[in-house]
């Protein structure tokens, strides 16, 4: 029961705090592509891979009081922060879920900007293509983001670290 919820709680437990919904979406996707067994279904959207299932599940966890969602008004936009609550920690302790140790990867992901994670997630989405094709696809589907060659090179390096 609620195994997929518990896996997300495990993530929040090691992340301490995640700032931004887009960032959260991309973090889970990148981990999923790096063989961490999150089962949320992703589709490609305007801003890269996005999972409605994840959005709903996080909303459920927040409504249940397992994670704390704080909405901050940043004058011209809103930002959401997520952290596990004591009730969430207690819930998690009742589960014996099988998850690899993701703490180091989560910490690394959490330090990145959402712009960079959008790039990495998009590159991973096209992971079945050859490298030059992936790069061409990035420029085709994200012309407004204007990702530089350096950023894309950093993206490849980052993917290498995440999947090793």
């Amino acid at each position: 029961m609620l195994t997929n919820h518990a896996k997300l709680m495990q993530f929040f437990s090691v992340a301490n705090e995640v700032t931004g919904r887009k960032k959260l979406q991309k973090m889970i996707y990148i981990l999923q592509r790096a063989n961490v067994p999150f089962e949320e279904k992703y589709q490609f959207h305007f801003y890269g891979p996005y999972s409605e299932e994840l959005t709903l599940r996080v909303e459920e966890l927040s409504n249940l009081g397992f994670i704390d969602e704080v909405k901050e008004d940043k004058s011209n936009y809103f930002q959401y922060r997520y952290a596990i609550t004591p009730a969430g920690q207690e819930f998690l302790e009742q589960f014996a879920i099988q998850m690899p140790d993701i703490s180091e990867r989560v910490e690394t992901l959490n330090c990145q900007s959402s712009r960079f994670l959008e790039l990495v997630a998009t590159m991973m989405y096209f992971g079945d293509l050859e490298k030059p094709e992936v790069e061409a696809k990035i420029h085709a589907v994200k012309p407004k983001q204007n990702y530089s060659e350096t950023e894309i090179a950093e993206g490849w390096e980052f993917i290498g670290k995440m999947t090793q």
């Binding site: 409605e52 909303e59 009742q94």
Partner: protein, 439 residues
Amino acid sequence: MAYKDEQLHEEKVFKDPVHRYVHVKDRVIWDLIAAPEFQRLRRIKQLGTSNYTFHGAEHSRFNHSLGVYEIVRRIIYNFQDRPHWNKNERLLALCAALLHDLGHGPFSHSFEKAFKLDHEQFTQAIIMGETQVHKILERVEKGFAQKVADVIAKTYEDKLVVSLISSQIDADRMDYLQRDAYFTGVSYGHFDMERILRVMRPTEDQVVIKSTGMHAVEDYIMSRYQMYWQVYFHPVTRSAEVILSRILDRAKYLYETGDFAFKLEPTHFISFFEGKVKLEEYLKLDEMVVHYYFHLWQEEDDAILRDLCERFMNRRLFKYIEFNPNSQMNEWMELHALFEQAGIDPKYYLVVDSSSDLPYDFYRPGEEEERLPIHLLMPDKSLKELSRHSDIVEAISGKKRTDHKLYFPTDKLDEIVDEPVKERIYEILYGQGEIEDVD
């Protein structure tokens, strides 16, 4: 004349209960509709198990796909002389609209969950594989099939074309809301689509709505909201889904044990059980075939498979109570143990179902660029996110909308012979309030 420009001698029309008529003039579209992979959609219901709740909901993905095509055809007609719309993308948009659901399997959602499949990948595979559909698309021009696949996968570079079929106000949703409302017979789901089509405007990378049309869009958002709660999230439909999923789990489990002999070899399911589904096998499994197996499995030697199939075929559904995984976790664990004590396998007969298990979504303003919202085109040509301008949409999109239910068969509980166990189970379940009937 090139195949891509070829027109039928006479326009063909499909009589349609939602759009009155679906008009076809392009030879390519006509040929695609006739392709076996598209005809297969006649045998996949649009709403899965909703017909257990709304008896009229027997319409298929075939009906819906034609409807989406027709809406896109009308949008393109309105766009033809507007800036940003590339007339060369017309046939591509029509093909993508028609084929967007091509990869749906029987009872899509349950099958995808049980066998870890993704219908979108099968849509891609059908379009790019050795199929009739692929041959037709490649006759248009070399590489055309890939373009159609990219539009459906939302990775095509012209995002305006993508947004016609996939955005928060797209032809897909506009068709299924109206069609599902019509066939279920509910009074929600209706909105003024003609008005919305008239106020849609193409921009560089998305369709936006002229601000004077905001109220028509509010109506659409309200319809979407009501349909989700009243039809798509209906607890009785979910009860049937729960049973369906458990049938698939049980059949797979029995196959994997290796020592269970099915009375009829489940040939059509084997690649699904083994997690190695080839396109050819996927296309063979439609809802007619699934029902055939379920029918036969009612006479299987395994008591659980037999019982679940008998329930599904005869609409003997599970009952449910509201469930809060936070405050009722201990009760759930106790129930789990009590079911085991009573000889009722909780894996199949005590099931928590959450709203996040369903493949439908609400309108989201996408405040942090997690997804693209609906934008209004203001008189000064600026774009404004819908909920920032509409109090109604703001009120709906700010709501917390989640739901968990616990499903179980009361008839099986009534048969428990261990009285103290039975009493305690009822105490826990009835202690939560009324047990909801699914009749």
